[in-house]
Amino acid sequence: MSRTQHRAPKRRRPRPQRRVASRLLTGSVLTAFMVFFVLPVLWLLLAATKTDQQLVRDSPLSFGSWHALMANWHGLTAFQDDAILLWLRNSALYAVISLAITLCVAVPAGYALAMTEFRGRRMLLISTLVVMLMPNATLVVPLFLEINAVHLIGTMWSIILPYSFYPFGVYLTYIYFTTAVPKDLLAAARMDGCSEFGVFRHIALPLATPVIALVGFFSFVANWTNYFLPYVMLPESNQMPIQVGVGNLLSSVPSFNPAVGDVAVERPELALATLVAVTPVLVVFLFAQRFLVSGMLAGATKE
């Protein structure tokens, strides 16, 4: 540091050839990774439009036909009498109800932790951090025992309630309120005679829209994509969410599991099922992406 202070500022300009070479290198690395990230998605989209023979024979990135797509859809829905639709409905039910509970619980909690003083606040903050970092898959077996003890195994509450507990959402809300909303604003509202609930409802909540969207997005995706917990809690096919359902479907594809009987589905149908399974997340993602890609998460901490 001290050395640089005495030296006259001197800029080393890279020679043009070197600049071009480095640009080229940067470009090709970024492009290679783009192919890595995008190609499988593209392939999946196209695979659903082919017959199984076309999948093997045709060029991997060719479009099959609308006809084959419809045929795959019929083949897929024929599996266990519309099981795929039932799984989708289950997933939607589980994810949306727990999302609603999560938001009703996490936003006030994060707000209170950030903006009010109460006994036990510090301890609650610490335990939130600990459980947030606690990997939830390890708790699946104990959760099973707990839910079993209250006779809720096999009901939708056995996964909705554990999903609703979302400490990361509380932490995110807490960080948001501590950094983005000045306490003076709330103090002013209190001075004007606003009740504590009124302050939350009329001042804090409208300001919290971005963080509500963010918590909602993360919670929805986490619920929708969870596999282990419903796999354990809901063994019956008609209660499975789509994630467990497509896993089930996988074991009925002869190319992956030759031991299948006559309930077989083919690979394009499995590809279509995978697409169907991710579509809701993709839709939610498109709505939420302006919050996500802007790197708001990184800005959400005090540095």
């Binding site: 951090l129 898959a137 596999y227 992956f256 599991n257």
Partner: protein
């Protein structure tokens, strides 16, 4: 604002306000506290209780830990997870930080934004979907990169998913779904580095490599450690990937590849709830201690 009141009056008022606030605060967190106890504290306590008792509920000390540790599959699962974690964490740090730096250097904002979005897309395919996609991509008969696979010497699906390849394959799947999100986070953190710091480095004659290595990476340290800890905790929990692979591979990949598969097997196949709890507790202790070291040393949560 309190100037209009006498000082004694405003003090009482403040005290009353503080009590009111305290009550309101507790009301606001009440529902969360209930969930925290029901689905955070209680299951943890339950796991610990079961780990130290036998089926009849009598205290057995560490015998469940010893018994599961001596299970013939246990060390295998531990070493699988360990190897996988090394691959996964190294690739995550190297490529995520590297890509974020490259994206950040990119002059055009539009291209950068588009790339970040494209990198992020696979994140929507988390869970079973990402595994299914990769089962196809790794199957030479239908794969879009079958020529690449055969150039690497793989001609059948069985050859690709040979047990020795699994850590790499799970790393690819996890990286494909998870890296995009972290790239966005790192990119955001790079944006938060003050302009004058970067300017100073430039004036001092640092080239972009030196700037990245000496200025940007050190300033990302906190975020890198955060990513490693979360990825470590997540990676140690591997379940859906090996589970689906074992469904698709006719037994090439076993049902006992990862520790969590082992807990599932103990609990639901062998009816050994106590053994399952013991493995769960071990995983929990390892993950939480890693997190605790991180919280203590990095000051990441000094947000107060």
């Amino acid at each position: 604002m309190t100037l209009t009141h006498t000082s004694a009056g405003s003090a009482t008022r403040r005290r009353r306000g503080a009590a009111r606030q305290s009550r309101a605060g507790m009301a606001f967190v009440a529902a969360y506290v209930i969930l925290l106890i029901a689905f955070g504290v209680l299951p943890t306590a339950y796991a610990v209780y079961f780990a130290f008792t036998d089926a009849g509920g009598t205290f057995t000390g560490i015998s469940n830990f010893v018994a599961t540790g001596h299970d013939f599959r246990f060390m295998g699962a531990v070493s699988h997870i360990a190897v996988y974690l090394v691959f996964w964490l190294v690739s995550l740090v190297v490529f995520v930080v590297g890509l974020a730096l490259l994206l950040h250097r990119l002059a055009s904002g539009t291209v950068g934004r588009a790339l970040r979005f494209l990198y992020y897309i696979p994140g929507a395919l988390a869970g079973a979907a990402s595994v299914l996609v990769w089962l196809f991509i790794l199957d030479p008969t239908v794969s879009p990169v079958s020529s690449l696979l055969s150039a690497l010497g793989f001609h059948t699906f069985g050859e690709v998913i040979a047990p020795g390849n699994l850590p790499v394959l799970f790393t690819i799947i996890a990286f494909w779904t998870g890296a995009g999100g972290w790239i966005v986070v790192m990119y955001g953190a790079l944006n938060n580095i003050p302009k004058d710091v970067m300017e100073a480095a430039r004036i001092d004659g640092a080239n972009s490599w030196q700037t990245a290595w000496r200025v940007q990476v050190p300033m990302l340290r906190k975020w890198i450690v955060y990513m490693v800890i979360l990825a470590f905790a997540g990676g140690a929990q591997l379940f859906v990937e090996p589970q689906l692979l074992s469904l698709a591979s006719v037994g090439v990949a076993g049902r006992d590849y990862s520790l969590n598969q082992l807990t599932y097997d103990f609990a639901f196949q062998m009816n050994n709830i106590n053994g399952a709890a013991a493995v769960s507790v071990e995983l929990l202790v390892v993950s939480v201690s890693a997190a605790a070291v991180f919280v203590a040393r990095s000051g990441f949560f000094d947000a107060e």
